[in-house]
Symmetry: C2
Subunit: 339 residues, 2 copies
DNA sequence: GACGACGATGATAACGTTTTCAGACGAGCC
DNA sequence: GGCTCGTCTGAAAACGTTATCATCGTCGTC
């Protein structure tokens, strides 16, 4: 007890104090092989007395099994990212795994490989990559092929297992909903996407093309609500836009705010549909019609997939289509068009 | 290359292929001791050819140094938590450390010790605890004293280094601001706190007591905007409340929404001040007057402190007082009181 | 020309576990 | 009573790396 300043107690110290051999201590701890009740008790009390804690590095070294997974993402704070991470962590913890997070600053090759190197310089048994954007997609490509990896995404599957939220289908559905309300076209305020043919933009475009309308130019906001706000101020001056789909709810909120500041009413004059069902969306004025995405579930599914990959299952994937939740920010096209 | 199905290449494989000894390979990798240019080149090309990656567990075992830190928190998704985590991760990555996150489900002893055990079962050189709530405070107590630990908090310092955002002072200031606007008292919608005498509630109470007014009962919302919304519906029916301070912006938004649904105007009839300066606060209707807290900076400071603790500095702490940002959700007391 | 210093290199010993293997001991069976 | 079997135990090997130490040239200095 008084020896806290010296080195941490090791298994040999426990063995000596308990008067048993080192392997016996190990067996008591892991429970792999039965040990007589009496010794077991002696070992336990020695552990308590010494405050012994097995050295994870040594254990990982000899077993070759790691109880950590890497999560690679370009961000950890945005709603979708953070909630997915939470889902992953939750399942991982339940399975006795710890998660190591690594963020990729950008999709430039050096940043990507630096992040991958950092993540892989620690013993992990697998990795989950949040492929919500180009940086995520790049990380996925940079990861060695012999490491179990699962991608979390909206988007197409490649050679690796994917847990997907089919936002393409959901965006298509949301766009069709707006079209069905009588709007002649739907504008799109975009978040980044992981690839050309994937994601919300693709679904939006598909719906318009099916309906025979030429997709209008995209407003690209990145992840920045301020950009969406500025688009909103621009749109407020145009009398021809009556409906917009936003890549996420934060964008939708800023966009709506700009419209309202300019005196345009939502949904009376302009309908707006968001994406994600952010926790604050229902408290917005007006409450947001949006596409609910269950990111926590997505995270949990991705960890399950990783577990499968660890056990050597083939490439499996899992897809869920999010559904539209109707609130008050979208409505029928204005009866007396403001043109 | 074709051997990807067998075990991963080890340093011995590299040494053999390069025709040098194992320690030489190690020296090339770590750069600790000079190696002749020619051998260095041979080693590098062997590494490339084999796709060799040093085994972190073995390295950690022998050096005793770990390049990972544990972050222990009760949540990773809420604005303050997520942003602090981001700040920590950013500084840690810059210093070559990786972050392992562990969430504590609750402040019950079993949950706390399970989380601590999981975090410490992996080789870490230190830990950062988010002491924003009782669970965080409990984790801090459960951590062994010989591990370098820093707490991130609003609240008092104990024996360990703390990075603090002085939300007590800030809450006092915000309350005084409302009082200065002519409100006879200020109600408080509370978030959880890490201890009795700490946090926003304490500052709010102090300001009222200084002003000689008896603090009204607290509305305890936990972290749940829905609860704040319900309080808002209750408050809307009372004509005697003219000012409220909310423990965070999410709560403030839901609270305001409830008031507005009931036809009460903010700030004309009731003033509301939030906390945190959530990214959406400026887009709210009305834009939120709130206390800006720089959580990312808080996270960065906490990692710096941990670096100091690792190097054996004494107990240092670092405190910043957040400042009020004035927008439109708070104003003077109604001139013709609604009573 | 001998000697000390220095720079690069390799052999070997750690680091703290789990795994493998062999041994001790007692019980049950022929 | 000897044999086999099963259960528990300990000795020793292994995991992949870095640290320590000794060795071997080579160079500069006296």
């Amino acid at each position: 007890m008084a020896r806290s300043s010296t080195r941490a107690p090791a298994i040999t110290d426990v063995a000596r104090l308990a008067g048993v051999s080192v392997p016996t201590v190990s067996r008591v701890i892991t429970g792999s092989v039965p040990v007589s009740a009496e010794r077991k008790e002696r070992v336990h009390s020695a552990i308590r007395e010494l405050g012994y804690r097995p050295n994870g590095a040594a254990r990982a070294l000899v077993t070759g099994r790691q109880s950590a997974i890497a999560v690679i993402a370009s961000n950890t704070t945005r709603y979708g990212y953070a909630t997915t991470l939470q889902g992953i962590e939750e399942s991982a913890r339940a399975a006795g795994f710890i998660v190591m997070i690594t963020v990729i600053e950008s999709d430039e090759p050096e940043a990507v490989s630096a992040a991958v190197d950092l993540a892989l310089s620690h013993p992990v048994s697998g990795a989950v990559v949040l492929k919500f954007d180009p940086a995520g997609a790049a990380a996925l490509r940079a990861l060695p092929t012999d490491l179990p990896v699962v991608a979390v995404a909206g988007g197409k599957s490649d050679a690796r297992p994917h847990a997907v939220l089919d936002d393409t289908a959901a965006a298509k559905h949301a766009t069709e909903y707006l079209l069905g309300l009588g709007h002649s076209t739907v504008h799109y305020v975009a978040v980044p996407t992981s690839g050309r043919r994937a994601g919300r933009a693709a679904g939006w475009r598909k719906a318009l093309e099916h309906a025979g309308v030429e997709p209008p130019p995209i407003y690209d906001a990145g992840w920045d609500p301020q950009r969406a706000y500025e688009f909103g101020r621009g749109v407020a001056e145009r009398s021809d836009v009556t409906a917009a789909l936003c890549g996420n709810d934060e964008l939708a909120m800023a966009f709506i705010r700009a419209l309202q500041e300019c005196g345009r009413r939502v949904p009376d004059e302009i309908s707006v549909v968001g994406f994600d069902d952010h926790p604050l969306s229902r408290y917005w004025t007006p409450p947001l019609t949006t596409v609910r995405q269950d990111f926590a579930d997505l995270g949990r599914r991705s960890f399950e997939l990783l577990g499968g990959a660890l056990d050597g299952d083939g490439v499996r994937s899992s897809s869920v289509t999010p559904r539209l939740v109707l609130r008050e920010s979208a409505g029928p096209v204005p009866s007396s068009p403001s043109r």
